[in-house]
Symmetry: C2
Amino acid sequence: MQFVVTLPEWAIRAQHELPTHLLAAEDQMREVVRFAQLNIDNRSGGPFAAGIFERDTGKRIVIGVNRVIPSNVSSAHAEIVALSVAQQLLNRWDLGSSTMPALQLVVNWRPCAMCYGAIIWSGIRSLVIAGSDDACEQITGFDEGPIHPDWRNELAKRGIALQDGVLYDQAVAVFRNFRDSCDVVYNARRS
Amino acid sequence: MQFVVTLPEWAIRAQHELPTHLLAAEDQMREVVRFAQLNIDNRSGGPFAAGIFERDTGKRIVIGVNRVIPSNVSSAHAEIVALSVAQQLLNRWDLGSSTMPALQLVVNWRPCAMCYGAIIWSGIRSLVIAGSDDACEQITGFDEGPIHPDWRNELAKRGIALQDGVLYDQAVAVFRNFRDSCDVVYNARRS
């Protein structure tokens, strides 16, 4: 009567080989996009990764990847994996506590409807994404779901800064590689 | 490099004492509302529970409860806990697979923005809720977040049936009990 979601072995090894700090959003995104590609190459989940860094120092907390199929958990999107692993590492359900450094979430695309809500509840203070247009859905066939039409402003209202378009071309290239690898697309209920 | 969310001991014991089948939505909701109250009484999480049953036979799969604070996982809302435990029990990331019986999710209030997306990805075919107005937010102070304004139709479009208002008064009574117990309200970023 529990559920467990683990990072794949390669992801644990690969992040230990990274610098402890990556300050520029582009440098953080480069690793996130690389992890998304590695998740395809290792057949360990969907083409998505999410990294959590201290906003002001660039200290790396964790980089998670999509684990839906290997974990048999439909909510194990990269964002929820990274946020939950970070919260248990740091022993805090609120990553926005005033007693700790502000944290930033870096993801290789805009959040789906579920992860959008999860981001708001997590306490992270800033969100960096590679893109937010329909390229991901068009290329991969993934459904992002019914996100709030004014989602950007709803983040801003809650004090979560958004930076969009970081390494857009590199992120889209990973989705093309995923499409060409013909892996299963796992949205349960397509619109 | 993993995260784990467990049900409390009392919840594991309590569901093993239930009948194997509860066919009527009211009978399913009565247990869900009772589990929400027990989660307050045992100080094992927020005032929410979620049950998964076979839609056509009433066979009980699992009843989960909110585990945000005890697990240090902000996404461990009752719905995500129940869905994820059920998926790992059944070894399926898609509970809507055509090779298995249709499943129903029964929750003591409408979903928040995150759980709304999680429900769509889970594969459950029907959702039963006790209420969907602002009573929960007004009484408990919880923020439901920026859910899609047309969320009911967006569920219908994806083939998820909705039944609202089942044991409304009983559900609201639990929220009043929660408020009177003065437990922490754990939405990280309030609007």
